[in-house]
Amino acid sequence: MPASDGASILRPRLPMDRDLGAAPCGFRGRILGIRPIASAGLTAEEMERRLLELGFVEGAAVEILHQGLFGRDPIAVRVEATTIALRRSEAAAILVGPRD
C-alpha cells in the first residue's frame, strides 16, 4: 500500500476529503491523515498515537461496517484486515478520501 509521510495535515484538503466520523455506514475509502483533535480528555497527540496503534495509518483502506442504534454511534470500522469499534467523535480525527 502507498506509504505517505506523517505530516499529512499539511496536505491541502481536496473536495472529496472528509473525516471518518461524519461518513455514513458502508463508506469505503483510504486514510489521508490524522488531524489533531483533543477528545474525551486526551490531548490531540495522545489521541493520534492511540489511533495509529490500532492501525489507522495513512494509506490504510477503511470501510464502515456497522453502526450503533443511538446517534449512529459507535461505528465498527474495517481497517485493512482488522475490525475496530470506536465512537464517531474519535473517528472525526481520521481524514479519509476515496479508495483510488
Binding site: 500500500m1 495509529l52 490500532l54 492501525g55 450503533g68 459507535p74 465498527a76 484486515a81 470506536l86
Partner: protein, 639 residues
C-alpha cells in the same frame, strides 16, 4: 557465572502479543496448566506462570501476559506487560526470551508490535498462531522471508491442536542453547515511548513486510461477516442481546431444577440418617444437633445452588469464547455512556452477575481511573450468583409457580419473571448510581475514548468451557468448605448455646445467644419488616451472602427441632408475611457486599476510603429499599 549455575539457571520466557491472538491458549498448550481462555480482548488480567520441559530436557519458565498493542502502556493491565518485558516488574525475573505471539490471520498490528520489541535488543521469536485458520482461508505466508526481513526467528503454531506447538518448542530450545552464556544485559533495556512519528514509521514498515511476505485473499471471514450482519444490526442486535440475557436467566431457573432437587434430596436423606442413629439428648444429642442442623442443613442449603451457578458461568464462558462479548460492549456503549459508564464496563458488569470479585478485577482493562472507579463502585449491585440462593428460596416460598399468561405466553413462568425483575432492578440501580456518581463526584472529567477490536467469531472449544466451569465449581466448593462452613458452625453455636434449662417451656432457641443478638437488633429492623431471626441471619450474611439462607435454615431448624426440620421454604411461608418476604428481596438487591468483595475493592482502588464508601452507600440503599417495599406492601394489604 560458572557452568554449573548456567545449567541450573531457569530460562525465562514471556508471551507478549495483541489482545486475543491466542497467548493464553498457547500458554495452556505449552504448560498443560490450565486457565481461562476467552475471546474478549484483554481478558487476561492476572499474571499466569507455568513451566514446560523441552525435548532436550530443559526446564523453561513461562509467563502469560495481558494483551497489548504497544509497550506504551495505558491501562494497569498493559503496564504489567510493559514492565515485565522491560525487566522492571518487581518480583519477576527479566525474560531471557520474548515470544511475540501474533494472530496469523490478522498480522498487521502484530507485526508492528514485533518491530517494537525488536528495538529492545533482546532475543525475540515471532509465533504466527492460529495458522490453521490462516491456511483454511487460503493465506500464503512466507515465513523465511518474514524472518529474514524482521531479523528474528519466525515459527507457526496452532495452539488448540495437539502437537501444534512443536515448532515453537524446538525454536525455544535452539534459542536457549544460543543464549548461553547469559545475556550481556540482564539489566532493563533502555526504552523510550515512541511518539506519533515513531509509531507511524513502525506501522509503515510492518505494512511493507506484509506486502512482501503475505498473500491474503481479499475478503473477510465469511462466518463473522454473516453473523455480524445480524448481531450488530442496530435494532435486531440489541433485541438479540436482550433475548440472550433473558434466556440466560430462564435457563438458570429451569435447567437447574432437576439437579437441585437431587442434591436437596441427598442432603435430606443424609440428615435423616444422622437423626436416626444419634440420640436426642445428652452430649451425643448436641453432636446430633450440630451435624444435622449446623453442618448438613447449612452446607446443604448452599450446595444446592451449584447447578445454577454453573449454568450462569457456562453462558458467560460460551459468550466469551465465541467472541460475542466485544460485540455486546459495542452495542451497549451508547446506553452505558448515558449512565456515565464506559462501553468496556459491560464485560466487568456482566461478569459480576457471576461474582463481583472477578468483575472488579476485570475492570483493569479500563484505561481511565474515573471510568474504572465508577465501574468498581456499581459492580456489586449486579446480582451475583451468591444472591441466587436468597432469591430462589424466597421466590420458591412466596411466589406461586404458574405461567404468567396463557397461549403464546404460557412458557414464561411467574417465578422466572420475578427473578428477571430482581436482576433488572440490580442493573437499573447500577446504571442509576453510576449516573449519580458521575454527576456528584466527577462532574468535570470527561470519559475515555471507546476503541475496541472486534475479533472474528470462533467456535467455542468444549475443553475450554469445561475447564472454566471446573475452576468455578472448585472455587465455589472451596468457599462452601471454608468461609461458609465456618460461618455455619458459628451460627449453630450461637443458636444452640446455652442449652435450655431442664423443663424449659419455650423453644430451645429462645435461651440462646443468637436470640439475644437478634432481639437487640430487632428495633432497628422492625421498620423494614425484619424479625429477629432475619437479624441473626444478616450478620453472617456479610461474610458471604448465601450464608444468610443457610443461617435462616439453622435458626429455624433449631427452633423447630421437635417437628423435624424439613423444608426451609415451607417454614418461611408459614412464618413470614408477604411484605416481609418482599422487603427481604429488596434488601438483597442492594445488600452490602460480602467481605471478600470489600477486600478486592480495597486492593483495586488502593484505598480504604472507597471501600467504606461502597459499603456505606449500599447499606443505606438496602435499608431504604427494604423500608419502602415493606411499608408499601403493608399499605396494600400484604402485611
Amino acid at each position: 557465572m560458572n557452568d554449573q549455575s548456567i545449567a541450573q539457571r531457569r530460562f525465562h520466557i514471556a508471551l507478549v502479543g495483541n489482545p486475543n491472538c491466542g497467548k493464553t491458549a498457547l500458554f495452556n498448550a505449552l504448560t498443560g496448566s490450565h486457565q481461562h481462555v476467552a475471546n474478549y480482548p484483554g481478558v487476561t488480567v492476572e499474571r499466569k506462570e507455568g513451566s514446560v520441559t523441552t525435548e532436550t530436557g530443559r526446564r523453561v519458565q513461562l509467563l502469560d501476559l495481558p494483551g497489548t498493542y504497544s509497550l506504551r502502556a495505558r491501562s494497569p493491565d498493559e503496564v504489567v506487560t510493559r514492565d515485565v518485558v522491560l525487566g522492571r516488574q518487581a518480583g519477576v525475573a527479566p525474560p531471557d526470551l520474548l515470544v511475540c505471539v501474533a494472530d496469523a490471520t490478522n498480522l498487521r498490528l502484530g507485526l508492528r508490535l514485533a518491530l517494537e520489541l525488536k528495538r529492545l535488543d533482546r532475543p525475540v521469536v515471532l509465533v504466527l498462531n492460529m495458522f490453521d485458520i490462516a491456511k483454511h482461508r487460503g493465506m500464503e505466508i512466507d515465513t523465511g522471508q518474514l524472518a529474514a526481513r524482521l531479523g528474528m526467528p519466525v515459527v507457526t503454531a496452532i495452539a488448540v491442536r495437539r502437537g501444534g506447538t512443536a515448532a515453537l518448542l524446538a525454536a525455544i530450545d535452539r534459542l536457549a542453547e544460543a543464549a548461553l552464556p547469559p545475556l550481556p544485559s540482564s539489566a532493563s533495556p533502555t526504552w523510550e515511548p515512541p511518539d506519533a512519528t515513531g509509531i507511524r514509521r513502525l506501522q509503515q514498515e510492518a505494512d511493507r513486510l506484509l506486502e512482501a511476505a503475505v498473500r491474503t485473499p481479499d475478503r473477510r471471514d465469511p462466518l463473522t461477516r454473516r453473523l455480524d450482519a445480524v448481531l450488530l444490526q442496530p435494532v435486531a442486535g440489541l433485541a438479540i442481546l436482550l433475548a440472550v440475557l433473558f434466556l440466560m436467566f430462564q435457563a438458570v431457573f429451569a435447567w437447574a431444577a432437576p439437579a437441585m432437587e437431587a442434591i436437596d434430596a441427598g442432603f435430606q436423606a443424609l440428615g435423616a440418617m444422622i437423626g436416626a442413629t444419634l440420640p436426642q439428648t445428652g452430649a451425643l444429642g448436641l453432636l446430633r444437633s450440630f451435624l444435622q442442623d449446623g453442618l448438613i442443613a447449612g452446607v446443604g442449603s448452599v450446595l444446592v445452588f451449584l447447578p445454577q451457578i454453573l449454568i450462569l458461568f457456562m453462558f458467560i464462558l460460551l459468550l466469551e469464547d465465541f467472541g460475542y462479548m466485544a460485540r455486546a460492549a459495542f452495542l451497549m456503549d451508547r446506553i452505558m455512556g448515558g449512565a456515565g459508564l464506559h462501553g468496556r464496563a459491560f464485560i466487568p458488569l456482566l461478569s459480576s452477575f457471576a461474582c463481583a470479585i472477578p468483575g472488579i478485577m476485570a475492570t483493569r482493562v479500563i484505561d481511565s481511573r474515573r471510568d474504572r472507579l465508577a465501574t468498581i463502585l456499581v459492580a456489586p449491585l449486579m446480582t451475583c450468583s451468591a444472591r441466587i440462593p436468597v432469591y430462589t428460596l424466597i421466590i420458591g416460598a412466596f411466589i406461586p409457580d404458574r405461567p404468567v399468561g396463557s397461549g403464546a405466553w404460557s412458557w414464561i413462568g411467574l417465578q422466572g419473571l420475578v427473578m428477571f425483575g430482581l436482576y433488572a432492578a440490580g442493573i437499573v440501580s447500577a446504571l442509576g448510581m453510576s449516573f449519580v456518581f458521575k454527576r456528584l463526584l466527577w462532574r468535570r472529567t470527561p470519559s475515555e475514548p471507546f476503541m475496541l477490536e472486534l475479533p472474528d467469531y470462533k467456535l467455542p472449544r468444549p475443553r475450554n468451557i469445561l475447564l472454566g466451569l471446573w475452576q468455578r465449581a472448585k472455587a465455589f466448593l472451596r468457599r462452601a468448605g471454608t468461609i461458609i462452613l465456618s460461618m455455619m458452625v458459628l451460627i449453630w453455636f450461637l443458636s444452640s448455646v446455652p442449652r435450655p434449662p431442664e423443663g424449659a417451656t419455650e423453644p430451645a432457641i429462645e435461651y440462646s445467644l443468637a436470640y439475644g443478638i437478634g432481639r437487640a437488633v430487632e428495633p432497628i429492623l422492625a421498620p423494614i419488616g425484619f424479625n429477629w431471626q432475619i437479624g441473626v441471619a444478616l450478620i453472617p450474611g456479610m461474610a458471604a451472602r448465601e450464608v444468610a439462607v443457610a443461617s435462616l435454615g439453622t435458626v429455624y431448624a433449631v427452633e423447630d427441632a421437635e417437628e423435624h426440620a424439613g423444608q426451609l421454604g415451607q417454614a418461611l411461608a408459614s412464618k413470614w408475611s408477604l411484605a416481609t418476604a418482599l422487603a427481604f428481596l429488596a434488601w438483597y438487591i442492594f445488600a452490602p457486599q460480602c467481605v471478600a468483595t470489600l477486600g478486592v475493592i480495597r486492593r483495586e482502588t488502593g484505598s480504604l476510603r472507597w471501600m467504606w464508601f461502597s459499603f456505606g452507600y449500599m447499606l443505606a440503599l438496602a435499608y431504604l429499599a427494604a423500608f419502602l417495599t415493606f411499608q408499601t406492601a403493608r399499605y396494600l394489604g400484604a402485611g
